[in-house]
Amino acid sequence: MTDEAKLRIRGLDLHYGEVQALKKVDMDIVPNAVTAFIGPSGCGKTTFLKTLNRMIDLIPGATVTGTVLYDGRDVYGDYDVIELRKRIGMVFQKPNPFPMSIFDNVAYGPRVHGMKGRRSLEETVERSLKRAALWGEVSDRLHKPALGLSGGQQQRLCIARLLAVEPDVLLMDEPSSALDPISTAKIEDLLEELKKLYTIVIVTHNMQQAARISDRTAFFLHGEVVEMRSTEEMFFKPKDKRTEDYISGRFG
């Protein structure tokens, strides 16, 4: 398993100034599967997610030590951050479509990476919206404001926007926490489809969601990875006492 890891993290420490947010994290993330991070608020799972495509760089005072190898190359070494984020994209907790039309939102990524020409952009937009299972709902109003979509549609639009730059890994930070159950179900169905093509890492507060959609689960606590195993094992036979406590709801 470890040989084919998409992302290999070794000895990762992260400090926010004086405070240590991640402690010696080691992890392998396998391709074409959904990896879920669970854990109580403030345990460092979102922080960890952000280190994978260096979105953590945007936070002033955050310092990272250790290695993150993506396809064998060190993300914090000579990796071009633009190229990295193009390959490892991110979907945020709250849908954040740009204040543009639906079309321009999806075409944004390809455009900034130099794609020109109406035809190729249109093809990319259509393909991405279809992969994000949104095409049927918006194909007749591509040039309407993206902010006119419902929350669930907006989140799928953000996924489509990400797919348009043809990434390899999708990082998702609680993508359905701001959505209603029906929209959540749609996103979950979508992830099931997307994992055939992409490597997916998802942070979730919702243990049931992790259980439903993920293949492997990591449990974070106080900046440490307590346990990481296949989801089935994790939920039915947790090895660590703390994992069991968390899963059975003893953390509150």
């Binding site: 984020r85 204040p99 944004y108 990524g109 709902e137 404001p145 902010l147 006119g148 549609q153």
Partner: protein
């Protein structure tokens, strides 16, 4: 007891609430009322010129005027001239070649082209020295007047071709003067009768005013003299000045003008009317000016389209509008990129430390500095040190300096208001910082930035103090970057300061208001269109 107290308290609170509401309503109504009054007054004065003017020569209600030989004369002018009437004096100097331009009479910058007939068709009182004399009859005069824009012609009424009124304008000539005993207009008790209103004139001649004291003159009884009812003056005067009312019973009838003037000169408190030609130059009587209220359209299309002439007394403001728009355009071309660039740097790039705080405090202070100080700076630096002289370049740069802080501050606020999630979303797609700023942040902030630009335009359009010493007062069209150029606000200032014309000043003020309205309207539409993508675009579609 306790429930009673609480009801009482409720009532008190509700009363306070009602009182507060009415105070707020009153403040709002007061503010809006005052503003409406100001704008309304300027718009009214801009559109309508309403002046009291006094004339020594008054009309007699007919287009023709009497000639000394008993005939009638008419004055015709080219249709392009904007004239209500002329005095006999004006006609004399127009046809005599003494008045070269229509400027002071019609407000138009046209040369006077006198046209008149020779031999016996004129009369002794008019001097036709410079007139183009025509032999071949009235038709030729009419044709000549029709052809030249500034032409003025004189004909005897009996030979005026009947269809001439369609081809040229027949201008009524005021030819009657009011002669009074000089004692009436003398300074007595610190008061002096300088002129009378048209209505007073009627009251004088119908006998309703018995003593000059009641119209501001000396304590003298009014003695009315009039000409024979059969004379043209008498008929015309009664029609015009008396509205057809009857003469005063005490009015003494005189057979001719000369006798009447003699009578007026020798009778204390006398007043009478005579042909102006008879009274002019007669030192034994004084001519009493008559005030007339003149209501005319003020801001006309020609004011927009014509160039200013004679210090702005004549013509319009077309070149000044052009200068103003050019100044605004150049200012925006300089101020917007620099201002937005500075705002982007301060918000997106600079480390938010004490230095940025000081810069921000500085821009805030600069935004509130009086514009005359920027003018002084521009005068010392651009005009003086850089040797650019007073002109477009110095003026534009000064105004640019002046509006930069406004644009920087509003752009900063607009950029800061763009949610961080937009930036994250863009960066997470592998966009560079520059791409994120230009394609997402500035786009989302554009309505706010535009608001700042509009505020800047507003300040620039209204700017006077800073421009007088840096951009100059030449009202001709701009010739080059270094040429002096007058803008609307400076024009307005000079019109009032030099006492050139209040009517023109109000018309200019009106144009300023219209320009600002137009800018605001366009900008609102633009902002609306920009906002469209930032809204739901009407109607959510849930799925």
């Amino acid at each position: 007891m306790e429930s009673n107290g609480s009801t009482e308290n409720h009532r008190k609170v509700r009363r306070m609430d009602a009182a507060a509401t009415s105070v707020l309503w009153a403040s709002a109504a007061f503010t809006i009322g005052i503003l409406l009054c100001i704008v309304g007054y300027i718009v009214f004065r801009g559109l309508v010129s309403d002046n009291r003017r006094s004339y020594e020569v008054i009309g007699r209600g007919a287009p023709s005027f009497p000639l000394p030989d008993g005939g009638e004369g008419v004055v015709i002018v080219n249709r392009s001239l904007r004239l209500a009437d002329l005095t006999l004096e004006d006609v004399r100097s127009l046809l005599g070649g003494e008045t070269a331009s229509w400027g002071l009479l019609s407000g138009q910058d046209l040369d006077v082209v006198p046209v008149a007939l020779r031999d016996g068709q004129g009369d002794g009182t008019l001097s036709f020295a410079a007139a183009t004399l025509r032999k071949d009859g009235a038709e030729e005069v009419v044709r000549a007047v029709e052809a030249a824009p500034g032409a003025v012609g004189f004909l005897r009424a009996d030979i005026l071709p009947p269809e001439a009124a369609r081809r040229v304008k027949v201008i009524p000539v005021r030819s009657i003067a009011i002669a009074v005993d000089p004692a009436v207009m003398e300074l007595t008790d610190g008061r002096r009768l300088a002129s009378v209103d048209e209505a007073v004139l009627k009251d004088l001649f119908t006998g309703r005013i018995a003593n000059w004291k009641s119209v501001g003159g000396p304590d003298l009884p009014v003695r009315v003299f009039r000409l024979e009812p059969a004379t043209v003056e008498s008929r015309g005067f009664r029609g015009l000045a008396l509205d057809g009312a009857d003469w005063a019973a005490t009015a003494a009838v005189q057979p001719d003008a000369r006798t009447l003037l003699r009578a007026v000169a020798s009778t204390p408190g006398a007043v009478g009317f005579v042909p102006y030609a008879e009274a002019a130059g007669n030192a034994a009587v004084k001519l009493l000016p008559v005030e007339r209220r003149e209501i005319r359209p003020n801001l006309t299309l020609s004011f927009f389209l014509e160039e200013p002439k004679r210090a702005g007394k004549v013509g319009g403001v077309s070149t000044i509008i052009g200068n103003t728009l050019l100044m605004i355009l150049l200012t925006l071309l300089m101020a917007t990129p620099i201002g937005v660039g500075a705002a982007v740097y301060l918000t997106e790039y600079a480390r938010q430390g004490p230095l940025v705080r000081i810069l921000r405090f500085g821009t805030e202070t600069l935004a509130g500095i009086p514009s005359i100080i920027f003018g002084l700076f521009g005068y010392i630096v651009f005009v003086g040190a850089f040797h650019w002289g007073i002109g477009l370049l110095s003026g534009t740069l000064t105004v640019t300096m002046m509006i930069l802080p406004t644009i920087v501050r509003t752009a900063e606020e607009a950029i800061k208001a763009v949610p961080a999630s937009h930036r994250e979303g863009s960066l997470a797609l592998g966009a560079t910082r520059w791409q994120t700023v230009t394609r997402v942040v500035l786009r989302a902030a554009s309505p706010g930035i535009l608001t700042g630009v509009i505020l800047g335009i507003g300040r620039a359009i209204g700017e006077t103090a800073a421009l007088i010493f840096t951009m100059g007062t030449d009202y001709r069209s701009i010739q080059g970057l270094l040429s002096s150029a007058r803008v609307l606000s400076v024009h307005l200032y000079i019109l009032v300061k030099e006492g050139i014309s209040f009517d023109k000043a109000f018309a200019t003020a009106m144009i300023l208001i219209v320009v600002i309205l137009a800018v605001n309207f366009t900008a609102t539409r633009l902002i609306g269109r920009m906002h469209f993508m930032q809204t739901t675009g009407g109607g959510r579609h849930d799925g």
